[in-house]
């Protein structure tokens, strides 16, 4: 084949080098402006007065309370939403029933409703001057301006993540494996734990990680229901805003840095698991 004319073939789906270069540098430029520069700025500001000042601002009682509160909220709302999400996805993908389309719309509702509106709804339903809320306050369990309200608001905002992640996967996998397990004599619970759950574990993990990231970062809905009581109902995002408004920029940016680091932990965990279980991932995707 030495006399092959000097034609350079490229795969039909590949663009010329110039176009590739332009697209890639365009993406990097956008990422730099939107992502890298702000991130660097956060850490730069946090450390502008040195490591000592940053750490000292974190050791402040209110900052510590905010970190603790945010972690508590995530720890409660994420597992609950994981269970609800799996249940909802299971219902939608494995059964046919009236009102299914309506249920799917309901699950998506938190994506289309402004978080502030969601927070207001919780205040209007459970506030101290409503029937339910008044009764709960009298009983010593206030919802609004307290931890339960913050958890409710976070759950409302993060509800769709797990279900949204699971539904397409479960639709694609169909019901055949579950049916096979049933014909082999397995009970419903056994089918769920030995067939369904292993098949959706990756999608579930992604859903949980996204849900977690959002639960920790939620501002709008929590701002309305929490009452922003320092050291009590102020989560990390809310404390950051308050510190920033008071020109305590080192403290604000340090706390923001910690929040960003928590997000990095989530991302890192996801990447680690993806690399570690690449084979299993490939096996479950392609069958």
């Amino acid at each position: 084949m030495s006399d092959t004319p000097n034609i350079r073939f490229r795969p039909v789906t590949t663009e010329p080098a110039l176009v590739q270069g332009l697209v890639i540098s365009g993406v990097i430029a956008v990422l730099a402006v939107l992502l890298f520069a702000p991130l660097i700025a956060v850490f730069y500001e946090a450390l502008s007065k040195g490591w000592f000042a940053a750490v000292a601002s974190l050791a402040d009682k209110e900052s510590l309370a905010a970190i603790r509160l945010t972690l508590t909220v995530a720890l409660v709302s994420v597992p609950l939403n994981a269970v609800f999400g799996v249940a909802a996805a299971w219902l939608i993908t494995k059964y046919d029933f009236r009102g299914k389309a309506f249920l799917i719309t309901l699950i998506d509702l938190p994506f289309s409703v402004s978080p502030v509106v969601a927070g207001l709804c919780i205040v209007l339903t459970f506030g101290a001057n409503t029937v339910v809320g008044g009764w709960l306050v009298d009983a010593g369990y206030p919802i609004v301006f307290a931890l339960p309200g913050i958890i409710l608001a976070s759950m409302f905002v993060t509800f769709p993540f797990v279900a949204r992640e699971l539904i397409p996967v479960m639709i694609e996998q169909g019901r055949a494996e579950e049916e096979a397990a049933l014909t082999l004599g397995a009970s419903g619970w056994r089918v769920f734990f030995t067939v369904t759950l292993p098949n959706i574990r990756w999608a579930l993990l992604y859903g949980v990680l996204l849900c977690n990231a959002r639960a920790m970062g939620e501002f709008g809905a929590v701002a309305v229901v929490s009452g922003k009581i320092r050291g009590q109902t102020a989560t990390m995002p809310i404390t950051i805003e308050m510190l920033y408004n008071e020109y305590l920029s080192v403290a604000a940016f340090t706390l923001a840095g910690v929040l960003a680091l928590l997000a990095f932990v989530t991302l890192g965990l996801k990447t680690f698991l993806e690399i570690r279980h690449a084979d299993a991932l490939a096996a479950t995707r392609r069958h």
Binding site: A176, E177, E179, A180, A181, L182, T183, L184, G185, A186, S187, R190, T194, V195, P198, N199, A280, A283, T284, R286, H287
Partner: protein, 239 residues
């Protein structure tokens, strides 16, 4: 086991998948439900297996009313069209699934389960694939593993939904003989669904030709070929 289908009908919403059909399957027979798509053959098979429930009519196993039995109680070895192997389990665990799913009191000990799985792997002539995953098998191997998995529960009958549908012509021919052999060894009453008249005629003792939710004709292959009962049967097996 003898199977009696007594005036079974099935409607999905307003569409009738099965108009009342009756069929008697002698114990140990190898029966083909033959028909084009939409003829109700898969629905009938799923009703036998307990995956679908009839709108009206009864199913009898050995003369006993089995209409209300759950899918687990039916003990039907079911082979699905796309095999539905558990993708996250090895072949060994797939085959052992039904034994492991038994209540503790009836569950065989681990060594016994291993012995049975090994025996089934020998029966399907794939003794060395126990540690592989379904994604590492060819289509024909998957079908045989699905068959072994269904046989592991010591089923009362074997139900197969288009067992050769996803295979190429050469493998299909080989596996036909494989199914015949397994049927003859186990003596299980076997019902399989197919739209391929060659397959039905070559493999089955008894062919049930179906169309539009009705049974057009029941008979031995040679009888159906010699005396088609309707224009539809004549046309369908002629093509």
């Amino acid at each position: 086991m003898q199977i009696e289908i007594d005036e079974i009908s099935k409607t999905f919403g307003v569409t009738a998948a099965l108009t009342p059909v009756s069929l008697s399957i002698p114990s140990g027979a190898l029966v083909a439900l033959l028909g084009p798509s939409g003829s109700g053959k898969t629905t009938l098979l799923r009703i036998l297996g307990g995956l679908e429930f009839a709108t009206s009519g009864r199913v009898l196993f050995d003369g006993q009313d089995a209409t209300g039995l759950t899918v687990q109680e039916r003990r039907a070895g079911f082979v699905f069209q796309s095999y539905a192997l558990f993708r996250h389990m090895t072949v060994f665990d797939n085959i052992a699934y039904g034994l492991n799913a038994r209540p503790r009191a009836q569950r065989p000990p681990k060594a016994e389960i291993a012995r049975r799985v090994t025996k089934l792997l020998d029966l399907i002539q794939l003794p060395d694939i126990g540690s592989r995953f379904p994604s590492q098998l060819s289509g024909g191997q998957r079908q045989r593993v699905a068959l072994a998995r269904a046989l592991a529960i010591e089923p009362r009958m074997l139900l197969l939904d288009e067992p050769f549908g996803a295979l190429d012509a050469k493998v299909r021919k080989e596996l036909r003989q494989g199914l015949r052999d397994i049927h003859d060894t186990t003596g299980l009453t076997t019902v399989f669904v197919t739209h391929d008249q060659d397959e039905a005629m070559e493999l089955a003792d008894l062919v049930v030709v179906m169309s539009m939710g009705k049974i057009e004709q029941i008979g031995r292959p040679q009888d159906i070929r010699a005396k088609p009962a309707s224009a539809f049967v004549k046309d369908f097996i002629g093509g």
